[in-house]
Amino acid sequence: MALVWRTLRSMRTALVLLLLLALASVAGSLLPQAPNSPERVVDYLADHPVWGELFLRAGFFDVFGSWWFTLVTVLLFVSLVSCLIPRSRAHWRALRSRPMQAREIDAFKRYAERRVTAPPADAAAIARKVLRRRGFRVAADPTLPALAAEKGLVREAGSLVFHWAFVLLLVAVVVGKGTGYTGQARIVEGETFTDASFNYAGQLRAGRFFDGDHSGAQVTLIDYRDAFGDTGVPMDFQSEVRFTSDDGATTRTEVIRVNHPAVFDGVRYFQFGFGWAPVVEVVRNGTTVREDAIPFVQRQTAPEGVSQLAMPWNGSVKLPATDDREPSHAIELTLWPDGRALAGFVQTGDPIPMTTEFDPVLQYTLWEGTLTDLSLAGLDTSGMRRVADGLIGADQTVDLERGCVVGIAPAEDRFGTACDPGAPAGLTMRFPDLRQFTVLQVSRDATVPYVLGAAILILVGLLPALYVSRRKIWVRADPDGAGSMLKVGGFALQRKERFEEEFAKLVDALATATGGASAHEREMVGT
């Protein structure tokens, strides 16, 4: 009794803990979460200074990584295990012991007697066979022509499998997340990314116990392709990449598509996103200061009902001064990969999704002053003065300070103004090429197969735990003239209303097999 009480108690504890996890998850889904959307957390903090501060302290912006979420998980784990161990032991004992005999069969919930022709010993032997055939575990009474039988132990077995599998799932998830990492690799066509911490530029999420041991594999983007439907609906994204192992010994070429990841050196690579990377060449006083492909991002979110593909792409080039007396420069750039979209937008104001490269155009603004931040992140122009702006098409060269196109006749100019010939250009920019980049999600999680295995076991255990019922039957054959009086009693622990029918059928089967009348025949005779 004490054991039952304790079990119930800990089951209640586990339930409360489980509901706590659910409650914490509610908070996690309503408040912005730093790992998923850091910008929204910053916005929230700005909008709600008091509550934001409070939530921040309590870890509400990273619920699933907070210490208290971990604590509840661990407590749940302990509670589960501590109640599963005695339950498993008890079940093990039940499996090995034989069904217990009973004396007062007629005291059970269901009870029936039938007069049969077989003598008691034979009747018991036959009843044993009938019960066996119906999947009961049967034990014969050593002293009497009587049997004890039971069925449905698989319910408890299933329940145990389910609960243990849940424990396994918890452990596998925690270990996998704890020792693995996830990051995003941004690779421009023709360039190579190496799987190493510093290459993720703050985009890496490593588990608590990750030892920093990246694979060091090199990933070269050979080609990026995509396909769009008529209305700008994306149909396919694929990245053709070449993997090279850290030691250079193995190389392999793969096409990574949405839903078709690649695995190399134990690390998985998934197609995650894409973008445009214009190549710009900046020349200052005759020296080339920049010549590379710059991955652009979309700063503007498309308004309701407009495809995000209609939005232009943003980037910048920062040119710190070479000596203290000179000001620094920055070029703010906006890319329209499909020039028709810019023209359409200017003429009609209608956004047009840009799915392919067609007459690409860059809008530029030259700023002069002090640069506050030299990183690749966005440009802060607060301490700067706007010098000039304009447009540049593919393969053109612009004089940034005057905002005009160099080396073309005025009649050829489609976007901006042609420069007066002969004037010296101090700072020029060329736009020789437009490339694309891919974003790959890179992750290592060693326990995925265990998580899957546990999930399958959860399902396998759940079915008998929910649908099988445990039933017990006792049979005794007392002498009655030349034959015997067959007494059958029993009960079910679950699905009791179904058992009523099953019990009636079973009694019938027992009676017919031992030479008695079936219920149907008895009705005919009118007894």
Binding site: R12, A22, V26, S29, T182, V233, M235, V448, E497
Partner: protein, 315 residues
């Protein structure tokens, strides 16, 4: 037919189904109020006709879009009502010969379809590549099926709570030697002799009685649907995790949709435990199921509408 014509056919069948379900709902409520057998038959026949139209709408929608017709909220809603009505007709009317709970079930269905047609309608079209995976079909199919079953279970739970309250009042009145009320005649105040809430052993539903089934029957029926829906929900969540692993490189990311499907799962696991725990059977367990229902609705509607996540790039 061209995709456009198929799309129009689907919309027309959708409206037919919606009106048929409204008819079935009205007939079913009228049956409980006036106890005329013909009304019960009318409800069944009109409901079955609605089911046929609903099926037609789903099929023509799939033909119009040239894919499985569950790619957005409008289509989920349509598929869900299909499963709800089919499960109700087979699982309640045919199996248990209970015809008095159709009104609330159809009300749930009508509500779902009305919301879908008012807020979620989009013409049939292709899917984003992230949504093209057979795991997606498996995941979505199981989520639709299990939501429907859990939904019916919860509607029955609400009826159970109402009925249980009136039975308790009836007992209290009998004990106070008050005559039973004349108003509210549809409510049967007879209490099963040895009724224990949550007990499977309570008397089986009588096929010939008119009026809401007894609280014990409603409770057991609700449990049937929930315990049938729960493993399918479990399977659906696992399928979703497998799909997420393939598509996004992580099987679980606490995306709002994932988070809420976990919450719903936990709450219904709580219900199953409560029902197996003495002292928690009956009304307490039913209350947990109601929390589960709210959670189900949040998972289904609120997350898609107000809480953005990776899943929302379905729209």
């Amino acid at each position: 037919m061209t995709p456009l014509e198929l799309n129009d056919t689907s919309n027309a069948l959708f409206n037919v189904a919606l009106f048929a379900y409204v008819g079935a709902m009205v007939a079913s409520f009228a049956f409980v109020a006036f106890r005329a057998r013909a009304l019960a038959w009318a409800s069944t026949v009109v409901g079955a006709a609605g089911l046929a139209a609903n099926l037609g709408a789903v099929i023509t929608r799939g033909l119009a879009a040239e894919r499985f017709p569950w790619g957005n909220m409008y289509e989920y809603s349509m598929a869900m009502t299909l499963v709800v009505v089919a499960a109700y007709l087979v699982g309640v009317e045919l199996t248990y010969r209970i015809r008095t709970v159709g009104g609330p079930v159809y009300a749930f269905v009508v509500f779902t379809l009305a919301i879908a047609s008012l807020f979620f309608y989009v013409p049939a079209g292709p899917l984003l590549p992230a949504l093209n995976s057979y795991w997606r079909q498996i995941h979505v199919t199981s989520m639709i099926t299990s939501s429907s079953l859990l939904g019916i279970g919860c509607v029955l739970t609400i009826l159970y709570l109402l009925r249980d309250r009136s039975e308790r009042r009836g007992v209290a009145r009998l004990q106070a030697h008050e005559p039973p009320p004349i108003m509210g005649a549809a409510v049967d105040t007879e209490l099963p002799p040895d009724y224990v809430p949550g007990d499977d052993d309570a008397p089986a539903p009588s096929p010939r009685r008119i009026g809401l089934p007894s609280a014990a029957t409603l409770d057991r029926l609700a449990y049937r649907f929930i315990s049938f829906g729960f493993p399918i929900w479990t399977f659906g969540v696992i399928g979703g995790a497998i799909w997420a692993q393939e598509a996004w490189g992580r099987y679980w990311g606490w995306d709002p949709k994932e988070t809420w499907s976990f919450i719903t799962w936990v709450v219904f696991a709580g219900y199953l435990h409560a029902r197996a725990t003495s002292g928690w059977k009956g009304r307490r367990a039913a209350t947990i199921a109601l929390v589960g229902f709210v959670s189900l609705l949040v998972t289904y509607y609120a997350v898609n509408l107000w809480i953005a996540g990776l899943h929302s790039y379905a729209t």
